[in-house]
């Protein structure tokens, strides 16, 4: 999209772009080279620093630690999606006594940092006699925070739908629950799926906060390896291994998000040519009907 910002480069522009390109490369090489130089200078590439990674048990431990990261992520992801739906429905409720508490919970937990939530659960609750394992502190804090965020995402998805959708539902004789369950939520979730998956990537990244409240996940184990004096304290090496695993996991999740997005866009295009603009400002009734037909067709073929 950004390519509309400039013309095809002419002769002078090509030369200028090449010069800027060369400068960029030089700056990057300079920065990277300096880091590598410091690495060599302080012996970060020496065999002793990496020796600890030649043990099978260490890798088994890393695998186990990654497993604990993923366990916390999986539990938090499922819980946050469920909580997100509950809170979103609560906030869109017609009853004030449901709507206000839900709104309060969403706003409250979105404003408190996740780490403070974890600390409240892990260090704060023992004061009143509730002792949670670090795992549960991580999972509950992540679930509550991301659930609140997802609730807003789902609500935004529902509210972005054209009003005709719910009106048509009521006209057919559906009740509130039916309109929500059969008409609004399926479309909202479809539209918001990329955002929801992106929020799950955030959840995965935030499991690393468990390190600070001593949940023995991947980063915690990396710190443990990195402080082994008899292996020359390979803290940078351990950090690099952990970072590589985290990045790989997140890229896989982000890749899924991208795939879902591309798939949805292509299926939408196949279903309805008229809905090229996602903003539902100027949708006519016929377009809505066409969209519904398109969606219906897609759903039945996908099942």
């Amino acid at each position: 999209m950004s390519s509309v910002l400039y013309d095809l480069p002419g002769r002078r522009a090509i030369i200028r772009n090449r010069i800027i390109g060369v400068i960029t490369v030089l700056v990057i090489l300079g920065l990277g080279g300096f880091v590598v130089y410091r690495f060599i200078e302080t012996g970060q590439f020496s065999a002793e620093k990496w020796y600890i990674f030649t043990f099978t048990t260490v890798w088994e431990q890393i695998l186990a630690a990654t497993g604990r990261t993923l366990a916390a992520f999986a539990a938090a992801a499922v819980a946050s999606v469920v909580l997100g739906f509950v809170l979103a429905l609560g906030r869109m409720s017609d009853h004030a006594w449901v709507r206000w508490p839900a709104t309060g919970i969403i706003e409250l937990f979105r404003a408190v940092p996740v780490l403070i939530l974890m600390m409240l659960l892990y260090y704060g609750l023992p004061v009143v006699g509730v002792r949670l394992e670090a795992y549960w502190a991580v999972v509950i804090a992540l679930a509550v925070y991301n659930g609140s965020v997802l609730a807003e995402v789902i609500r935004a998805g529902v509210e972005s739908l054209p009003r005709g959708q719910s009106e048509a539902g009521y006209a057919l004789g559906l009740r509130k629950a039916g309109v929500m369950r059969l008409i609004l939520l399926p479309q909202a979730v479809r539209a918001m799926l990329p955002v929801i998956v992106a929020q799950l990537v955030v959840t995965l990244k935030d499991t690393a906060l468990g390190y600070i409240i001593t949940y023995n996940e991947l980063l915690y184990y990396a710190r443990l390896i990195g402080t082994q004096a008899q292996y020359d304290r390979p803290i940078l090496q351990a950090g690099m291994v952990a970072a590589a695993i985290y990045i790989a996991l997140c890229l896989v999740l982000a890749g899924i998000a991208k795939w879902v997005e591309v798939r949805m866009r292509s299926s939408q295009r196949a279903g309805r040519g008229a809905q090229a603009t996602p903003s539902g400002r100027a949708t006519t009734d016929t377009e809505v009907i066409a969209a519904q037909r398109g969606a219906g067709k897609f759903d039945s073929s996908a099942l």
Binding site: L5, G21, G124, R223
Partner: protein, 215 residues
Amino acid sequence: MNVIVDNLDIWGVALRNTLLLFFAGALIALVLGTLVGAMRVSPVPIARAVGTVYVNIVRNTPLTVIFFFFAFGYPALDLPNPGYTVLAMCALGIYTATYVAEVLRSGINTVPVGQAEAARALGLTFGQVMTLVIMPQAFRSVVPPMMSVLIALLKNTTIAAGFSVAELGVIRANLSERGENALVVLLWVAAIFIVMVLALSLVQRRLENRWRVAR
């Protein structure tokens, strides 16, 4: 309330450090993020590639891991040590810069294609197209998401607690040494953050109303 009044010294230092991390982190993030965002839309393929790689790698690394590298990894390189607070600012800035870059880029993409095309048809150069036509329009749609990024940054400053910076996240550890109730202390910390986030949200709403795009 006694928890605060009796320990004003610690709370003062903690609040000051949190705000310091926030403002310094924001400054680094805005400068670096603008640079990276500009690289990502620039006509120079190599700069685009560098920007993309930077954003994709750093955005997919947990902030805690970045802190880990700055707080534990950097001292291992035997360079002059500026202290944990400065290292924490760098970690926050480098992480948040990727979000700033993405906000700027998507802001530029919200400007209708016809605007850039018309500007180019008038014979404006890339620099003129950006500064005279695209940026003034993109700025308006960038303000609300940029404030969200800053709110996230404010909340992320707590992570420095795990890496030897005396800010609001650490206050529990300091005060439990003085025998204070950890639950009460943490609830106060949470309350302070809620107030600060609310204040930023108010600013966000006001700016949003003021700069709403009229198309």
